[in-house]
Symmetry: C5
Subunit: 354 residues, 5 copies
């Protein structure tokens, strides 16, 4: 996960509720897209400016979904949120992209924060903060970057597939959260494949590069877990939200979503344990190779050092060395050396080092 | 466990409740088998087609058990489930073979999902998803593959053994779940034997192949645990199901089943700890062998390197080397070398390296 | 712990409540012993056959304790249990010796299962399943093997020591369970002494045999823990049993028993951590010895390899080597070699390798 | 974290509630600063002496914040606290700087203890105890050292920014605690950067110094965790304080503060796991380098030891060695040596050691 | 911690409530000391015999504290306890010195068991069991050995310092428990200093002795943890004791005591983690030294083995070796050897091994 630096420091000392975007500042303007629908029909609107959005919020009686791509403009967030009487702290949270997933219930609205996770071009995991404000028939979603995770839901609304148009903004909120959670499975599969690739690589060619990748993978899993873990509680509290806001009918779906979340978390745990298992495997195979290296060294040295010694003895220049004069001395020494060699070989065979 | 790829990806972006089978697609048709029984008698029927099944569901007042082998045909699942007013999400779960074990209570039915675990021809653990829909006097079981795990129960019904015919569909559900849980013990015993075999192998011949097997075993245990762990909660909630659905009489049996589940989970934990213990043992025995190898090298080198040096000294060609002229020089040098050799031997004896 | 193979497999596919003994089949007949007592007196009876036992159960108004050594005869278990209207599942559990400790409350009786742990002749830990059926004034205890763990209680009853005769069958149940738990302390002390012996052995002579023993010990602790751990919950639920069955007076004793159980479990945890600590110590001392071995090798090689090189140089046979002709050449070379030797020695001294 | 020695020992044997400062004694006098404000205006006062402070406490009806820098003077603490009827134990806790974070509710006041964490000049983490006494409209804060962590809040009050002046002393307490918690993020970022620096260093040049730094870092994380962990419960209980003391309006802010605390704790956990991951990486890279070193040694020794042996053989001085007389003997031996060399090279290539 | 052998075995088979002292038997008589006090005055009495103590218990209306040093005399314990109608099981627990800390509430009294921890002459941690029986205005404390941990409290009563004389026996119980808990901090500081000493030693001279000390330290921490851990629950239940026994006023002090207990436990956890950290550091520094040793060996061998080979080649005695006749042959060989030497040096420099 590319570790983004959030401008946390710049906020220290400021009053709570001070609105400062803590992500990476951008030049592009925020993009709005609005869907208004009920059982009978659907209208898609690309508002020209903020005023038009505010006007739609005022006037619409049907389900209204405003999606905002880009949260780096504090004014936009403030205008829209003030319209819905959203608490300063919620506004601050929408702008602070380093939040952990959470759900806050206020008297008049629900505020839900999620982490969207995706693979970037370098095949690394990146996260993005997505916030939702749910207020009666209105749902506002805030995305850090332009993405396509909500396209499936948008299409279902426009094409009138399934029963999404027959239900209200609470089901819409569920559907959007569900599409985010569904997306995790993609990342988990990508990670799972990475681990399998690493395992193959590790068995074939266990070098430093595998170790670095393994280390990287563990950190990615750690970061991912951190994004997803709080989700369990968020969805669990989402399910328990008051009946006046949440249709009991929708609750069944959230229960299902909760099961998916548990599945995501369990899969992450399995990935973590797999990565740990790979590290053990790596360490053990390093030890094994070391053993093999040492065996080769020991065998070579143990065989040839004594032989060299024998040769050295008869290379001495003493004037009186009886063996040297002996006619077959040279061949006897060769014989001795062969015997020593064979003894060593048998010894190593017995030790199963050969 | 042969890691099956579930078509999770293909579902992303679809509406919740969309019915798509996520397992491996097959050509064979799904196979139905029906048992209708009460205290007095039993009828076994192999329905020709779906219509006949639906007709039986409509007309039977006795306990009706429909078993469906093969869930790759979405239409069949939908037709039968719609008949019983089963929720779209339950249908989706029956078809999504990557579910974790769970129990869902709806107003009119119970939906229970389990993982059946078996050994395949390559002696590897495979799992299969089994779903149950329990609706009044009707029990429908959905199996991914044709298997024989329910044969024992079927036989007991047909032969009228035990009191199974005297009880209703709730006891039947218990009996089927019980036969699945009983099956886990087989797998656990197989794993336990694998560990014992590995332990023997490890003590006799600790090489890379043992390490690979150990790694494989740990992953199998991990996968198995993942299939079984959620069962604890499932059975616990099964026991607490409403009296109107579950006969208090049957509850005693489910409590017993719960005890078995705990036993399964505990045995898996013991297997995991045993596997970890083996890994420790492996690592330590690798270290020990390394020590032994190094000892041999050190002893050989420490003894012969100094001796070779001595021989080297008297191999020098200086024109003036008094010892060389000395008549017994050669023998004195041999004496020195023997003394050096003995000193080293005593030193190593003291160190207990010999 | 000698891992007994329970005939789990043979039960798969059978109806719940089918009575099959899963332990090791034996030839001897089961042995009964009966004690009938109240505050005023005590009678000890060795019944000739099952009928006499059944008759006693029917006719006795005082506290009646029937102890059965040997549970491999399914008929005996069934006859006695049927007499007391014991559920089929309880009978099955009495016969299935692979049960985990548990307590089951039924309307008319309590069923309690424990693991008795003892040392066999090979100094290994063995366990034995002990079941109790408590029904009004009657207590029936089922033992797998003939043992003497209940002798203390039997003696107290016969000799009228303490207040055991003044209390009913509930206190008797407590006293028997207490004697089983007390027995654990013996095993724990034996294990504790084994660990201390191992520690001494490990510090004096850390070889492969210590490692094997340590591995064995860890598995024993693991097995023991598995037998004892569920006891915590069993005793806790025992304490909370209904007042109509359990005299409030006896509850104080069970609370005390609970404290003992916690102490047993804590001691097992300490043993486990001690064993892990020993493993760490072992690994570290293996590393240390390796270091020492390598030091010896390095010192010997680093000193003599350069010296041998110098000797080798002057063993060359070039026709023109000025030093060779030099009168004191040989002595100068010796001087150089001594200097090299001293430099190496100082270097190693500085490194604290000597 | 510079481990301060608290004078714990000097307190042993004294009565509870005995007032002794346990931090490092100093010479400077304690410094007071007072802010009195309500919605309409603000007064800043630097009291000359203790009496003036006591007089202000008596006479002020608006929100009164007394900040005391320096708690080494027991008399000052006792005078002020007695004025507000603070319990002896609270006074003792204010003076005992080794407290863990906690919140105590008394009938008439709240006592809150925090750990302020900062980097000292040597870039090490230091902590400081901060206590708050909240009594009706009065808030008294006690700091061990003169610091500037409250400057942001002071400025907001004086400049009338935000809504701080519109709310009472309960919001002030929240604002001060919030500024302390905000400060943790600074430390966490500093630690995070240290870890990243260490990771780079470790990959480039993994020596003993990295290990020492890593060890130091782990201890810092451990100490930090110890300071922060209890905060979770403190803030959670702070949120649940009685409505008569805590304005429901302020509760929303404390809930937000709680989320920040969780985030701090999670970040510390991630730092810990990162540090553990680095240690694993370090150990593995040490093993890898060892492997590399051993490979070089093995290759050099395995190639040249046999060759030296061959040369040694023909350096022997036997009077009868046929090869020596052979005209091309020397070149044949060179040929043999080249072949041996090539065989070894091919062997090592195959093993992928080259 | 000097592991005392408790005579557990001797108790097996005996009736619960049998009074046998399980500690080390001694010859000295038990020593009594009595304090009788109320707000107005205090009397200190050293009773001659047991009868005088019993008489005081009967006749005193003020707060009465009886301290008994030495619990090896079962008769004394039984006489006093019977006087206060203490349950047989409580008496047994007072005498069984292997108890874990606990609190038992009976109808008429509270029974509290603690572990006092102290350093013995060999600087090892020893524990001692302290029991309290609190019955209306009477507090009886039982100590295994004569110690001075209660001297501070005794002095405060006699000198009338603090408010101890103004409060009853419940505050006295608190004060005594508090003095025991305070004592833990001494031990913790001693352990903390040991760890710091070990760390320094480990960095300077990491040998086997450090390892043994570290192992010893870990076991001490483990034993200490076992003595202190149950205290958390004991104090927590102490705080919740019925108002009729515990003055609400005293409850505030117990809450403070609870905080201290948590602090003790947290400190032990930190000590444990520090010890683990040291072990990691130790293992890593051992690996590092191994690396260094291997580097020296590899450098020496890699440089001189090839050089020795070259010298060996020209030590061969072939009759036809052209280089030998060449006038500058010897110097050319020297040149080659220097070049080889330099190449190796550059290679090792590049590898950063030099």
């Amino acid at each position: 996960m590319a570790r983004k630096k959030h401008k946390r420091k710049s906020k220290i000392g400021l009053a709570p509720g001070t609105l400062i975007f803590t992500g990476q500042q951008k030049m592009e303007k925020a993009v709005f897209s609005v869907l208004i629908y009920n059982e009978n029909g659907v209208r898609e609107i690309i508002p020209k400016d903020l005023d038009e959005v505010v006007h739609l919020i005022d006037s619409t009686k049907e389900t209204l979904w405003v999606n905002i791509d880009g949260i780096h403009d504090e004014n936009i967030i403030e205008s829209i949120c003030s319209k819905l009487l959203v608490h300063k702290l919620s506004m601050e949270d929408i702008l602070s992209v380093g939040q952990r997933p959470k759900i806050d219930e206020f008297d008049n609205y629900i505020h839900l924060v999620l982490k969207m996770v995706m693979l970037n071009s370098a095949d690394e995991i990146e996260d993005e903060q997505i916030s939702f404000i749910h207020h009666k028939n209105i749902l506002i979603s805030f995305q850090e970057k332009t993405g396509d995770v909500f396209d499936g839901v948008r299409k279902r609304i426009i094409e009138g597939k399934g029963f999404i148009r027959k239900r209200g903004s609470d089901y819409l909120l569920y559907a959007l959260v569900d599409s985010v959670v569904d997306h995790y499975f993609l990342i988990l599969e990508a990670l799972g494949e990475k681990i399998e690739t690493l395992e193959t690589e590790l068995l074939l060619n266990p070098g430093e590069s595998v170790l670095a990748k393994l280390h990287h993978l563990r950190r990615e899993t750690l970061d991912l877990r951190r994004s997803v873990y709080p989700l369990r509680e968020v969805i669990s509290r989402f399910e328990k939200i008051d009946d006046t806001i949440l249709n009991p009918d929708v609750r069944v779906f959230i229960r299902d979503l909760y099961d998916h979340t548990i599945q995501v978390i369990e899969t992450i745990e399995v990935l973590r344990e797999s990565a740990s298992g790979l590290l053990d495997l790596y360490m053990n195979s390093v030890s094994n190779r070391m053993n093999e290296i040492m065996k080769v060294l020991t065998i070579m040295a143990s065989i040839f050092i004594p032989l060299t010694f024998i040769a050295g003895v008869y290379g001495m220049n003493f004037s009186h060395m009886p063996e040297l004069e002996y006619k077959y001395g040279y061949f006897v020494v060769w014989g001795v050396m062969v015997i020593v060699f064979l003894i060593m070989m048998i010894y190593f065979k017995r030790k199963k080092w050969l």
